[in-house]
Symmetry: C2
Subunit: 238 residues, 2 copies
């Protein structure tokens, strides 16, 4: 179409990468966690990087994100959402535009998928989980990508998506608040949080209660109508 | 990295396209409008398409969006925001991943830029403005792209961004409501709209008033602190 394109189109490559967030509980502490893959070749051999790979000529961006995530980590989220395209000229030794996807995955789903691969003897190699807010220096611009994903998670993700992506089907408001505290990295006032969450229209109270060492706490589930409406025309087509 | 990439990376190309929204007033009617460019070569010769072009090897995605928009339409928004990457396998005869940007542009800025190009004798050719909600069949998947941009505009754009992007520095709540009505394509209750807009924290009342045939209406300006905080880590780095 333009002279520069004729000269250059054969040396810009398209890759996909994926940021998978889950919450991990260690004793009383809850933290946001994501899987990384250790690179086994240059550039950045030996460094940790986001799961991903090259876009194949015959697959959509969404399919490439799912395939490369499964190939590198064995994980299969129920859906992946496109986050952003990163294309700085100097982000790789060769010119690479990376389309980045993200997903929220419940810890019990992660555990089940990891256990299934271990049982089948095809556990992925070179994968480890890291605290999302305390990462080592990653390959390429992947620290910047994680920072951007964390910012989007902190700013743009509503109650229903958090509940759907990171909690069991039914959860107490205290459990939901703990997840928010892990994401935001600060304590939230329980009464204020309850008022906002209940007023969001995205949570449905059940008649069931969590009992245990504390006084019984009502269980909630998220409102699927709200969640499904959030995908827009792309969701309908996908 | 993978065999498929070695085989295929030389035939996936990266393009950028841009959706520019403005509001146009015709008499009492206000409508959402966007510029399209008539294609002068195959594929889809003669059809209208979004402004855009190929990514150059030596420019960032943001720079490519600005450059190709200026080359095809002469328009220079104060900023462009990345919207989404479209990469369906069959969206073009060859494999093309398009990174789509969008911007909101005030009508007076559009008029000033168009007039400047006319005066300089370098007015762009093959450009026309269309009602965003009543488009002809566009080249490639560009109708889908506009639908997605409209959906994002309807769902995700807050009071301050609308005010900043589509209105003059100072505006009445009725003017802001009219813009919302053009975007949402339905009438809004003035009292409810006033309550929500005033409660949003993104509008600042001034001590000035619009006078004319109606009773004086207070002028507002948008809260730049809120708007600037919305760009996240990418905005800070850019």
């Amino acid at each position: 179409m333009t002279r520069s394109a004729d000269r250059n189109h054969d040396i810009t490559r398209v890759a996909v990468s994926t940021v998978i967030f889950t919450v991990r509980r260690t004793g009383d502490a809850i933290s946001l966690s994501l899987p990384l893959v250790r690179r086994t070749r240059d550039p950045h051999e030996g460094q940790w990087a986001l799961p991903g790979g090259w876009l194949d000529i015959s697959e959509s961006l969404d399919a490439a994100a799912s395939r490369t995530l499964a190939e590198t980590t064995g994980l299969q989220p129920s859906y992946l959402e496109q986050l952003y395209a990163f294309g700085a000229v100097d982000r790789s030794p060769s010119r690479v535009v990376s389309i980045v996807y993200w997903a929220l995955l419940r810890q019990d789903d992660v555990d089940a998928q990891v256990a299934a691969h271990a049982a089948a003897g095809d556990a992925p190699e070179n994968v480890a989980w890291f605290d999302a807010t305390d990462l080592p220096g990653l390959a390429f611009d992947h620290n910047d990508i994680v920072d951007y994903a964390l910012w989007r998670l902190r700013n743009k993700v509503g109650y229903s998506r958090i509940a759907h992506g990171l909690l069991a089907d039914e959860f107490t408001l205290a459990e939901l608040r703990e997840v928010y505290e892990a994401i935001l990295r600060r304590r939230l006032d329980p009464a204020n949080f309850r008022r906002q969450a209940e007023g969001s229209g995205t949570l449905i109270p059940t008649e069931r209660f969590r009992t245990g060492s504390h006084r019984p706490a009502r269980l909630y589930r998220y409102n699927r109508d709200v969640e499904l409406a959030d995908h827009g025309p792309l969701g309908v087509r996908a």
